[in-house]
Subunit: 317 residues, 2 copies
Amino acid sequence: MTGHARGAATLLGPGDDAALVSAPDGRTLISIDTQVQDQDFRLHWNNGYRTTGFDVGWKAAAQNLSDINAMGGTATSLVVSLTLPPETPVSWVEDLADGLTAAIGELGATACSVAGGDLGRGTEISVTVAVLGTLDGGNPVLRSGARAGDVLALAGTVGRAAAGLALLESAAPFDSLNEPQRALIHTQSRPQPPLAAGPLARLSGATAMMDISDGLVRDGGRLAAASGVVLDLDPLELKRQAGSLSPASDILAADPLAWVLGGGEDHGLLATFPAGIQLPAGFTAIGSVQAPGTHTGPGVTIAGRVAGATGWDHFAD
Amino acid sequence: MTGHARGAATLLGPGDDAALVSAPDGRTLISIDTQVQDQDFRLHWNNGYRTTGFDVGWKAAAQNLSDINAMGGTATSLVVSLTLPPETPVSWVEDLADGLTAAIGELGATACSVAGGDLGRGTEISVTVAVLGTLDGGNPVLRSGARAGDVLALAGTVGRAAAGLALLESAAPFDSLNEPQRALIHTQSRPQPPLAAGPLARLSGATAMMDISDGLVRDGGRLAAASGVVLDLDPLELKRQAGSLSPASDILAADPLAWVLGGGEDHGLLATFPAGIQLPAGFTAIGSVQAPGTHTGPGVTIAGRVAGATGWDHFAD
């Protein structure tokens, strides 16, 4: 057992057949997620950017830490299984380990450490992380608890990673991009889930929560279905989010609202709170929770109109 | 929360961003392991055998459950991340889920259930399982606790899966094989780790333990190095193990001792116990623990001679 604050939850680390991790309240959260080369990331992007091992390690940690955050929990430990082609440079793998560790530290998951791992061969790079977390005796915030009359709120950003992806896939050379444009790519390659916000939302009485990994409309639809409600998005808030993506939308002549509604990899938190309470730090109201209509089921609407995955057509009509 | 005995440890299953699993003594064991197509299994073997989804699911569960067993623990939960080529038949994936569940039940991991998962695309099939387990308040049995004078013991089998692999890779058609030969292939495709033996060894005072996944000599070498001892194998016990592999060695004109010393995928347990105690049920003495010599370091020997990964040359000379 280590006496350090960081990684104090890991009672027994790598070197045996399994690691042993503290679960102080007698329960542990667990989630697992895989990133595969050419599916979840490209080593070489169209605009010339090269994904580093550091990027992949950061993103693998970030998206798993986000899953614990989305339950209102705090990560205690993660384990990594790496599949690598034999020709993968050792330096790339070392960068990946550095990226994992850096994300854990810089995103503020200070109780978390890498407790173990597994290494094998394959024809493509694949990185699977399983993460453990604690609720500190509290109840998990589920997708199913939203009630009509609640406030719908967002922590973190939405659409930035999708805008960054569009830049990576564009013909505009990376070297020609300005800082705000590179910052959007940075959100894609090294997402910044708001890790303080999840436990804070739980303690503040959030009724439902999830992280946005597949897009506001798609993930919102899942929360709406689990809760049996309609999530109605405020078009002014959507436009405000979209406006911040102008560094990409301007040079790509793209519709930034499609990134806001369909882009997921910022790993922001979507949560609902009872009306009338003060939203916890980091959250902004972006809509409201309503009962389904008599002829329509649970889902996502924008100012009362059914939202599509890219949203624009329905929103504009 | 389920009221059933099976899977009672899973407090919150699939459907949210993370699962919640009971950790009754305030700690959880965790291990992670990946199987990749054409590295850890072939869909079509040389002898005509076709690996089913059921086989892959079974093996993924079995080798992870074995890691918990090797610490003296009992599995509480597992999560699965699947990477599949788009052309993978749905029925193959359903078979995989059935194989996972069947292994959990038939191997006796009755407190364990599948708590969640993740599905993604890739060019090759990859199955990662992370497994959680409990020590029921006890101490984990590490690789580092063996002491000179201890008895070295084995639970389960060693060499059968390697013999089965040799049959799969041979020119002898699967359809031509007899039942004892098919049973060896069965150990390769659906290993049977002795899941009762790990917790029993812990309760019986085992000083060190690990599962044999990479071979008796290689894994024994790891335990020897961690403990700073020599593991001396009894040649009569090795020959007894080798003799049970004659259904394969006879038709392949192969040396069965190489399978016993180098084959790992049976997932038997290698453990050390203080001399003089009665070995727990399922364990057979296969050697002894000795202090390293003045000129030789920790390692594995056979009747005092240094053992190689395939063992025969050193053993025979």
